[in-house]
């Protein structure tokens, strides 16, 4: 559905997107991640035909976004960042106008506008002025607009930006639901959202694609050390010394001690090694009561931080 190869966008004195290539297949829901300024919005603007690329090519459903811009645009439902809307139009009026712009005529306009409003929960807001809507409803108007012409591809730039947790959940449900029938490229900061909704993740940093895989594979490939939390009743310095001598342990940090002598420790172990068993044995040998032993799972957040920060520090 989307094919991008060696796409580069240079602004004066700055390369926003640097030789990136990726593909998005029919029916996929792909998360587009990256820190602010990574080049996500620039890439999306190139895909939607708003900006030209400096070099490289991009095509939507086989149509080059620059040469066959009109054909490509007809296939995209695009919701830009911050959802720009005309404040002085009513919701229904605005959606009708957008439907006509996208080439719908007559009965189709009424039908598609009605369906999009139903899907996005806008029906009772249909006669409200857009300027008077809350952020959540504005976001829904933007989404309804993107859906009007039943595009094959939806491109959503930070659809949950600035929403409250309930609204974020609603948008996430909607994306999941839409993912069944559409190809979706969604750019976002909220990683839990990506883990829940996306088939695949593209991580972009400083204009380059740093990772492109399923969330599960990315998490599985994490190179960071495993982190283990434990709580036991022992003298902290002694316990720390003993645990440190275990093979595979890189670092032991004391987190806290309460008045009953329960000590919380955080242990960093080498990757691929589970040191929980040996910790349990040491505790048993020394007759330290042990009431918690927990290995943290790596999350997409860890992957994100590792990919985007290790590069910065190196």
């Amino acid at each position: 559905m989307i094919q991008v190869s060696n796409l580069t966008k240079r602004y004066v004195g700055r390369t926003a997107v640097d030789q990136i290539s990726f593909e998005v297949g029919q029916g996929e829901v792909v998360g587009f991640l990256g820190p602010n300024g990574a080049g996500k919005t620039t890439t999306i603007r190139i895909l939607t035909g708003y900006l030209p690329a400096s070099s490289g090519t991009a095509s939507i459903a086989g149509f080059d976004v620059f040469r066959d811009s009109m054909e490509a645009r007809r296939r995209i439902g695009y919701m830009p960042e911050n959802v720009p809307l005309y404040e002085d139009m009513r919701v229904k009026e605005y959606l009708r106008f957008r439907a006509q712009l996208k080439g719908l005529r007559g009965r189709d306009v009424r039908k598609n506008v009605g369906e999009a409003m139903d899907l996005c929960g806008l029906t009772e807001m249909r006669s409200k002025m857009i300027g008077s809507l809350s952020k959540g409803y504005r976001q829904r108007v933007g989404l309804a607009d993107a859906l009007l012409h039943k595009p094959e591809l939806l491109i959503l730039d930070e659809p949950t930006n600035g929403l409250d947790p309930n609204q974020i959940r609603r948008v996430r449900e909607l994306i999941k639901q839409l993912g069944l029938t559409h190809t979706i490229l969604v750019s976002t900061h909220i990683l839990s959202e990506v883990e829940m909704t996306c088939d695949r993740v593209i991580i972009l940093d400083r204009g380059k694609v740093r990772a492109c895989d399923t969330p599960a594979n990315l998490v599985g490939r994490m190179r960071t050390a495993r982190t283990i939390s434990l709580e036991l009743q022992a003298e902290a310095p002694l316990a720390i010394d003993k645990i440190k001598t275990l093979p595979g342990v890189k670092k032991v940090v004391k987190e806290s001690i309460d008045e009953n002598g329960w000590t919380r420790l955080t242990v960093r172990a080498e990757s691929g090694r589970d040191v929980r068993e040996s910790i349990a044995l040491i505790a048993a040998d020394n007759a330290w009561p042990l009431r918690e032993l927990h290995a943290h799972k790596a999350t997409l957040e860890d992957v994100f931080v590792e990919i985007t920060q290790s590069e910065h520090s190196s």
């Binding site: 240079r10 602004y11 004066v12 603007r45 939607t48 035909g49 708003y50 900006l51 030209p52 400096s54 009109m70 645009r73 007809r74 995209i76 695009y78 830009p80 911050n82 720009p84 809307l85 005309y86 404040e87 002085d88 139009m89 106008f97 957008r98 006509q100 712009l101 996208k102 080439g103 005529r105 607009d145």
Partner: protein, 272 residues
């Protein structure tokens, strides 16, 4: 011979542009939206009311003056060659054009607009034509004055040629100055800046010959300034002399300005 060629080329370009505009009916959809947003905004009604008020002043003073004795000038001259007309002329263009592109750029809606399957030409022409239509509507009430005059004084001096000339120059000035306004508005996100640019250039163009009387410049340049100065054109047309040189001048400059605006809008598509 070359004249015919130019006309044929012009007609062909115009036809091609119109075809592009009407393609898939997108141009008219945009045009109607723009026109609606004029009439849904309070600004439009304020402008309409003020222009009517100013026309009323002209009309009243004309009647008072004409009653006083024999005059060689027509009612059209009183209406369009008067202080109220100039006042209206100076605020109309900035006020109706400043919003056109500046607002879209400020709100960011230019992005949603231009990522829909719509061409820049369609966006530009629809905004321009909507502003021009609104501008022409502004002058409709002034026709009532002439009608009233005609009814009450059937054998009066409301010469028809003078009226034709007046409305022709009104249209030409609109076509030209709204193009200036479009360009000013496309250049900035800030409506006030757009209004000021538009105001300055409209004023300058109107008074260039007049202003240069007080500035030491070569005589040839003064002649040129008089030649392009709007206030002299208005006088010629209002007297009933329809001068084709001015028609060509205003229309071709409007096209030049619109072409420039088109390229300003397309600027973001230039490859770096």
């Amino acid at each position: 011979m070359s004249g015919t060629l130019i006309i044929v080329l012009f007609a062909a370009t115009l036809a091609l542009t119109l075809w592009q505009f009407f393609k898939r009916g997108t141009g008219p959809v945009l045009f109607i939206k723009e026109l609606r947003s004029f009439f849904l905004s309070p600004v439009a009604w304020v402008v309409l009311a003020l222009v009517m008020l100013l026309n009323g002043f002209s009309f009243t003073s004309a009647l008072t003056d004409l009653r006083a004795g024999d005059r060689t000038v027509t009612l059209a001259v009183y209406t369009f060659w008067s202080f109220p007309f100039w006042l209206a002329y100076f605020f109309i263009f900035p006020v109706i054009t400043m919003r056109l592109f500046a607002e879209e750029q400020k709100l960011g809606t230019i992005e949603t607009l231009l990522t829909a399957p719509v061409s820049t030409l369609q966006v530009l022409l629809s905004k321009y034509l909507a502003a021009l239509t609104f501008y022409l509507v502004l002058w409709l009430p002034s026709m009532l004055n002439f009608l009233l005059f005609r009814i009450n004084a059937p054998d009066s001096t409301a010469a028809i040629g003078s009226l034709q000339g007046s409305y022709t120059i009104i249209f030409l000035l609109g076509a030209f100055n709204i193009a200036i306004g479009c360009l000013a508005s496309a250049l900035t996100k800030n409506q006030l800046v757009a209004a000021m640019i538009c105001f300055t250039f409209c004023l300058l163009h109107f008074l260039v010959g007049f202003v240069l009387q007080f500035v030491p410049v070569p005589e040839a340049f003064r002649g040129f300034a008089d030649y392009i100065s709007t206030h002299l054109h208005v006088r010629t047309f209002v007297d009933g002399l329809i001068d084709t040189r001015q028609i060509v001048y205003y229309i071709s400059f409007a096209i030049l300005l619109l072409t420039t605006t088109f390229h300003v809008l397309e600027f973001r598509k230039w490859k770096v």
